[in-house]
């Protein structure tokens, strides 16, 4: 290594540098716990799927920590990001759902839950919940609905959306297989429940190959007018 002459003082010794001002120790209130969520809306069904791995840094905290939370008989929310904020946010949503039910004598619809979540998230615009949310459920007409959010409450209704650590790997695949993007001369059949479930399983198997935060197991919540059914599929554990 070459050192310039300016590093030496008049006495021939190297100059000492001491920082004498205040020192700021950075404490980060957030942690990244990994995990991927995915939601797909069909003609008369909705799917919300998530992996079940909870990690931090290079370690695994739990192999059985699903990220889908059931809100009502027709709505499931998937939350990934900072697990502490996921837990608090779902507690708050559940409390607000109860309050609504007691005041209005009916359950909240998916669209209403989405609108409410947007206001809850924006309420902490200057110290956000570090959570990527996706709501999946049936709307008032019984059609599948997916609402995707950013950490501060911007949302929109989608047909399909992936969120979390492997979202950048899953979203393009869904765009191609469900949205038929970048394809010609392909029969655009409407998405059936069986095809959607198969696609979600395959897509998570692929994500687990390349994303270190995704793996262990996949939990799919299938929402139809009959109710909410769960399916669990094992994924790579490494």
């Amino acid at each position: 290594m070459m050192i310039s002459a300016r590093a030496y003082g008049d006495n021939g010794k190297m100059k000492e540098h001491h920082y004498t001002g205040p020192v700021e120790h950075k404490f980060s209130p957030y942690a990244f716990n990994g995990g991927t969520v995915l939601a797909v809306a069909g003609e008369d069904f909705a799917l919300v799927a998530s992996d079940t791995r909870l990690s931090e840094g290079y370690s695994i905290h739990s192999r059985d920590s699903p990220k889908c939370y059931k809100l009502t008989d027709t709505t499931v929310i998937g939350c990934s990001g900072f697990h502490g904020d996921c837990l608090t946010l779902t507690k708050i949503i559940e409390a607000r759902l109860k309050m609504y039910k007691h005041s209005n004598n009916k359950s909240m619809t998916s669209g209403a839950i989405a609108a409410m979540l947007s206001t809850i998230l924006y309420g902490k615009r200057f110290f956000p919940y570090y959570v990527y949310n996706i709501i999946g459920g049936l709307d008032e007409e019984g059609r599948g609905a997916v609402y995707s959010f950013d950490p501060v409450g911007s949302y929109q209704r989608d047909t399909y959306k992936a969120g979390g650590s492997a979202s950048a790997m899953l979203q393009p695949l869904l765009d191609n297989q469900i949205g038929f993007k970048n394809m010609e001369n392909v029969e655009q059949l409407p998405l059936t429940l069986e095809k959607a479930v198969q696609l979600v399983k395959d897509v998570f198997i692929s994500a687990a190959e390349r994303d270190v935060y995704t793996g262990d197991a996949l939990k799919i919540c299938i929402i139809t007018k009959e109710g909410i059914r769960e399916e669990i599929v094992p994924l790579r554990k490494d």
């Binding site: 990690s55 840094g57 290079y58 010609e184 198969q198 270190v212 790579r236």
Partner: protein, 275 residues
């Protein structure tokens, strides 16, 4: 002395851009971007001396930040006929360092007329790594058999080394030594292979930076057994759907045909493996 308007040439690392990079990183991190990182191997590597020789073990995952870049890379590198080296840390550094060592060792052994010593490899490696003050980010486990018997050394990026009958390195260093505390150097081959396999498997499952298969390299006085994919504790999931595209799926925007006036001399057909 001439007023230096010409810069003196310095070989090796150039640190001119460090200040600019620090400023850029500070500005960019406000917008949420981070500077690109060198690809690290994540990694779990281990070495063990048993009755007849040395066993080296490694996982096979290479990561680019937290995305798997290579699912089946080789982390056990050849240095000399009876000396192999496991590399953790920055993938390029481990690869190039061991290749350079391999060349140097061959030249040295031609010059001395004797087979190389593991201690010699270790000394050359540590002297080089110390010279680079830790900027070459490779942690290595060197194991081999020479005239003094089986030996195992670990070398850290800043140039320090340890000589031990058992070694573990990589991101899960703290969880593996308990496995190895149970070893005795009088173990036989099968027990020793099983122990190293268990240790690497623990890393594969518990460390996000390690995964895929277990590679082993068994070095004895008589033979070297490079067991690539000795164990595959994780199977790739089976996809149910088919994702093949029929010809014509991708839109053709323009087509230009340029005929070449050539004579056909010979024709051979090689069938593509489409499944």
């Amino acid at each position: 002395m001439l007023n230096t308007s010409t810069k003196t040439l310095t070989g090796g690392f150039s640190f001119e851009n460090t200040r600019r990079n620090a400023v850029l990183e500070a500005n960019l991190s406000e917008k949420g971007y981070s500077a690109p990182n060198a690809r690290k191997t994540g990694t779990t590597i281990a070495g063990l001396i048993f009755k007849d020789g040395v066993i080296l073990g490694a996982d096979t995952r290479a990561t680019d930040d937290m995305v798997v870049a290579d699912k089946n890379c080789m982390k056990i590198h050849y240095i000399a006929p009876k000396i192999y080296c496991c590399g953790a840390g920055v993938a390029a550094d481990a690869e190039v360092t061991t290749q350079m060592m391999s060349s140097n060792v061959e030249l040295h052994s031609l010059s001395t007329g004797r087979p190389p010593l593991v201690a010699m490899v270790t000394r050359q490696l540590k002297q080089m790594l110390f010279r680079y003050q830790g900027h070459i980010g490779s942690s290595l486990i060197v194991g081999g058999v020479d005239i003094n018997g089986p030996q195992l050394y670990s070398i850290y990026p800043h140039g320090s080394y340890d000589k031990l009958p058992f070694l573990t390195m990589g991101t899960v260093t703290f969880s593996l030594p308990p496995f190895f505390e149970q070893t005795q150097s009088e173990q036989n081959l099968e027990e020793a292979k099983q122990l190293v396999r268990d240790a690497i498997t623990a890393g594969i499952f518990c460390d996000l930076g390690s995964g895929s298969n277990v590679d082993l390299c068994v070095i004895t006085e008589k033979t070297v057994d490079y067991l690539r994919a000795y164990d595959q504790p994780v199977q790739k999931g089976l996809r149910e759907g088919t994702y093949r595209y029929k010809p014509g799926t991708t839109a053709v925007l323009t087509k230009t045909v340029t005929p070449l006036t050539l004579d056909v001399v010979d024709e051979s057909v090689q069938v593509m493996d489409t499944e």
